[in-house]
């Protein structure tokens, strides 16, 4: 027999509490480490996305929408033949194809869904809406209000969609 006093209940509880607190502290530190590392990675990806893709192409994005707006304005002429409408649409499609190849394709390197969504909801939606409006006998694009509704609003929607989709990228 050692002759020492057996530990009382309070001492045992205190030891257990110390162990639990130490473990909780360790778990919290580990969680903060993992969480922070993940945040840092996301932040790095976001910064690379901004530096390599968005910032260098910001002028090209606005320039693209300026050019297609200028081209689409020709559709407001009151005396367009179907052939002339088709030529204007071809010019728009050309701009869209170049924009896709020079900018949208870059998005695949960070998020292939973003590339697909921008092709579908920005480029295609804008081209399809304007094509349908140009050849719809019930729509008169030489009327300012109708041009605004069917062409200008479509372009605005496409531009806003693109910007909001880029903004939503979270790394």
């Amino acid at each position: 027999m050692c002759g020492c006093d057996p530990p009382d209940l309070l001492s045992i509880i205190s030891d257990i509490a110390n162990i639990v607190m130490a473990f909780a502290g360790f778990a919290l530190a580990f969680y903060v480490f993992v969480y922070q590392r993940r945040k840092d990675r996301e932040s790095d990806r976001l910064q690379w996305f901004k530096d390599l893709i968005v910032t260098p192409n910001t002028p090209a994005i606005y320039s693209f929408f300026d050019r297609v707006t200028t081209i689409a304005t020709d559709l407001s002429s009151p005396t367009l033949t179907d052939l002339r409408k088709s030529q204007i649409l071809n010019d728009l499609k050309n701009e869209c194809a170049v924009f896709r190849r020079t900018f949208v394709v870059l998005l695949r390197s960070v998020d292939s869904n973003m590339e697909k969504e921008i092709i579908t909801n920005c480029i295609d939606q804008f081209l399809d809406n304007i094509t349908q409006a140009a050849f719809d006998p019930n729509i008169n694009l030489s009327n300012e209000a109708e041009f605004e509704a069917h062409v200008f609003m479509t372009l605005t929607h496409s531009r806003n969609y693109l910007l909001s989709r880029l903004f939503k990228f979270s790394g």
């Binding site: 052939l83 088709s86 649409l89 071809n90 194809a97 695949r108 579908t120 081209l127 349908q132 050849f135």
Partner: protein, 111 residues
């Protein structure tokens, strides 16, 4: 023995009075109606006829209409198998190439 020529006439899938083909939904619908995915497995060429008074067939439509055959044949195989019959003023080649490039974009690094 000469293989038969299959024919897909887009006139059959045209909305009456419409001068354009647009939209993924319509492309998918017409892909199923035309049975193009089955025709492509038969021997011989396929004539794809574009009505002469059509003024636009947008890449969105073509991408869905041709997605399976282009994935199967790739670009060169597609142009070997299909003959585009187009006597109207609308020239489809740019829209067709854009649609094919999009379909095959997973195969390419930067197209």
């Amino acid at each position: 023995m000469k293989a038969d020529i299959q024919v897909i006439d887009l006139q059959e899938f045209r909305t009456p009075g419409s001068k354009v083909f647009t939209g993924r939904d319509r492309g998918e619908q017409d892909r199923k109606r035309s049975k193009i995915d089955e025709l492509v497995d038969k021997p011989g060429k396929i004539d794809l006829i574009i009505p002469p008074d059509i003024y636009s067939i947008n890449p969105s439509y073509l991408e869905e209409f041709l997605v399976n055959v282009v994935q199967k044949l790739k670009k060169d195989g597609f142009f070997n198998k299909f003959k585009i019959v187009n006597n109207g003023p609308y020239k489809i080649s740019r829209d067709l190439n854009e649609a094919i490039d999009r379909i095959l974009r997973e195969d390419h690094a930067l197209i």
